[in-house]
């Protein structure tokens, strides 16, 4: 072990070739053998490191695959939810619009146009009735006017009766006077004259009665005339304007309803667009399958390479007397340090270091100090590097992956 440590400390790749040349120049078979043995020993070391390295990388690739898978599943679920919500909203809106355009009246459901035409009908009937009433009232007025004309005629005729009656009375008076002058011979005539005068009185009384009756009729007609006036003189303009305004309101409602329907149709269109966009998104998630396949390919290849190298190593151990390398923290640390000096590894750094340095039974080679030592250049100064050191990112990465490390990947000998 110590020999190997010293050898490892003294050599790097360019000097190895020089060492070989020196060995050959010496011409000693044994020193050449020694050199080759040393070199072979280093290659076998390298095989071991690479084996661990492949395992670590395999694990990293697996993490990536899982990350992609989980993320796409989550995204997919969210998209589904999004589309569902949009559709629910659309359905809700549809229901609102439908309900807004209908009126429930007991067991009936009425549409706006139905309501409007009913209102129209009712209004028109009302107006027709009023007009009918007005026409009838005016006809009645004219009829009453005609009655008044007849009544006036009657009054005139009564006047004529009274005139004739006056004459009759005078005649009777004259007859009485003549009868008295005629003495006994005129006595009978005188009685008749008295009777005639009595009749005339009766007629006079009757004429007066008629006159007052006719006057009563006349005033009755006048009163009827007045009543008709109050019926017929309606100013309907207020009512009619209200009717007009209500009809306009209803028409505006119908227009608004049509507008809602249009917007609803647009919304339905958008919903469909959303649905097809969603399908496109789902399709794009197929990249996840491809990614998975490619990553599986990488892992498979790494596994094959690892097996090849391992097989060769086994053969070498069999053919030579060289001893298999056991997990030794100093050697492994040195190799790990070389890798880290060439690339920072980012977030993966801690997992890498742990993966490389864990014993098969998962105990650690004093891992905390090892990780810290990796940061400081002076801790492991076994190799002189020509490349510049990388900026060291803190190995205290968020992932505590010690538990995730599958030990079936650690194939030692």
């Amino acid at each position: 072990m110590d020999d190997k440590m010293a050898v490892v400390g003294d050599m790097n790749t360019p000097e190895l070739t020089d060492g070989l040349t020196d060995g050959l120049a010496d011409g000693l078979a044994t020193s050449r053998t020694e050199v080759l043995a040393t070199a072979l020993g280093r290659w076998l070391e390298m095989h071991h490191v690479m084996g661990r390295g492949f395992n670590t990388l395999d694990h990293e690739v697996d993490l990536v695959a899982k990350l992609v898978s989980t993320s796409t599943d989550e995204l997919s679920a969210l998209f589904h939810k999004l589309v569902q919500n949009a559709q629910d909203q659309s359905t809700g809106m549809e229901e609102i619009v439908r309900a807004a355009s209908l009126v429930e009246l007991g067991k009936e459901t009425l549409t706006l146009p139905e309501i409007i035409s009913y209102l129209e009908e009712v209004f028109n009937e009302g107006i027709m009735n009023v007009l009918q009433l007005a026409q009838t009232a005016m006809s009645l007025v004219y009829a009453l006017d005609d009655v008044v004309i007849d009544v006036k005629e009657v009054v005139r005729h009564i006047g004529e009766i009274e005139q004739i009656n006056k004459q009759t009375n005078l005649l009777a008076l004259n007859a009485k006077i003549e009868a008295t002058r005629a003495g006994d011979a005129g006595r009978g005539f005188g009685v008749v004259a008295d009777e005639v005068r009595q009749l005339s009185q009766n007629i006079n009384t009757l004429a007066n009665t008629l006159r007052s009756r006719v006057n009563a009729v006349h005033s009755g007609i006048s009163e009827g005339h007045e009543q008709l006036q109050s019926i017929a003189s309606l100013d309907m303009s207020g009512n009619l304007k209200a009717k007009d305004r209500i009809e306009n309101m209803m028409k505006a409602m119908v227009l608004q309803n049509a507008d809602f329907q249009e917007k609803l149709a647009t919304s339905a269109e958008r919903s469909n667009e959303l649905q097809s966009d969603m399908s496109s998104v789902i399709m794009r998630f197929q990249f996840q399958d491809k990614t998975q396949q490619q990553l599986d390919g990488v892992r498979m290849t790494m596994s094959v390479l690892k097996d090849l190298v391992n097989d060769l190593a086994q053969e070498t151990y069999v053919d030579t007397d060289l001893q298999p390398i056991e997990d030794d923290s100093d050697i492994m640390e040195a190799w790990v340090d070389r890798v880290i000096k060439r690339c920072s590894l980012g977030e993966m750094r801690q997992r890498f270091v742990q993966g490389m340095l864990l014993k098969p039974d998962h105990t650690e080679f004093g891992v905390s100090t090892t990780i810290e030592a990796v940061d400081e250049d002076e801790a492991i100064e076994m190799f002189v590097e020509t490349e510049k050191p990388d900026e060291t990112s803190k190995p205290g990465a968020s992932n505590a992956v010690a538990d995730d490390f599958d030990d079936d990947d650690i194939e030692l000998f």
Partner: protein, 99 residues
């Protein structure tokens, strides 16, 4: 209410002035009588000078139309504006009186 009748070729035109309301019913009746004394085939009521019509006025128009139907002449109402026009339109009488 005042009116003036002019006739030409069996067509009469009556130009009104003032309001056609209940209180004018006697004049209106006289007008109808005047029209019936001339044999006309068509009579036009020009209402451009009329400011106000109440339901009695509308009733009287309907009576005039009835008389026209009976006597065999056509009644047309023209020139209505403002209040009078809206009354005729809203009661749909304008449709009825477009002979």
């Amino acid at each position: 209410m005042e009116y003036k009748i002019t006739t030409k070729d069996n067509q009469a035109q009556v130009v009104f002035r003032g309001d056609i309301t209940f209180s004018e019913n006697v004049s209106f009746r006289q007008l109808l009588k005047d029209i019936s004394e001339q044999s006309v085939t068509r009579c036009e009521f020009d209402l451009s000078g009329v400011d106000m019509v109440d339901s009695a006025g509308l009733g009287m128009f309907l009576i005039a139309r009835e008389q026209a139907d009976t006597a065999g002449w056509k009644l047309a109402v023209t020139g209505a504006q403002g209040h009078v026009a809206s009354m005729l339109k809203l009661t749909k009488l304008s449709d009825l009186l477009d002979g």
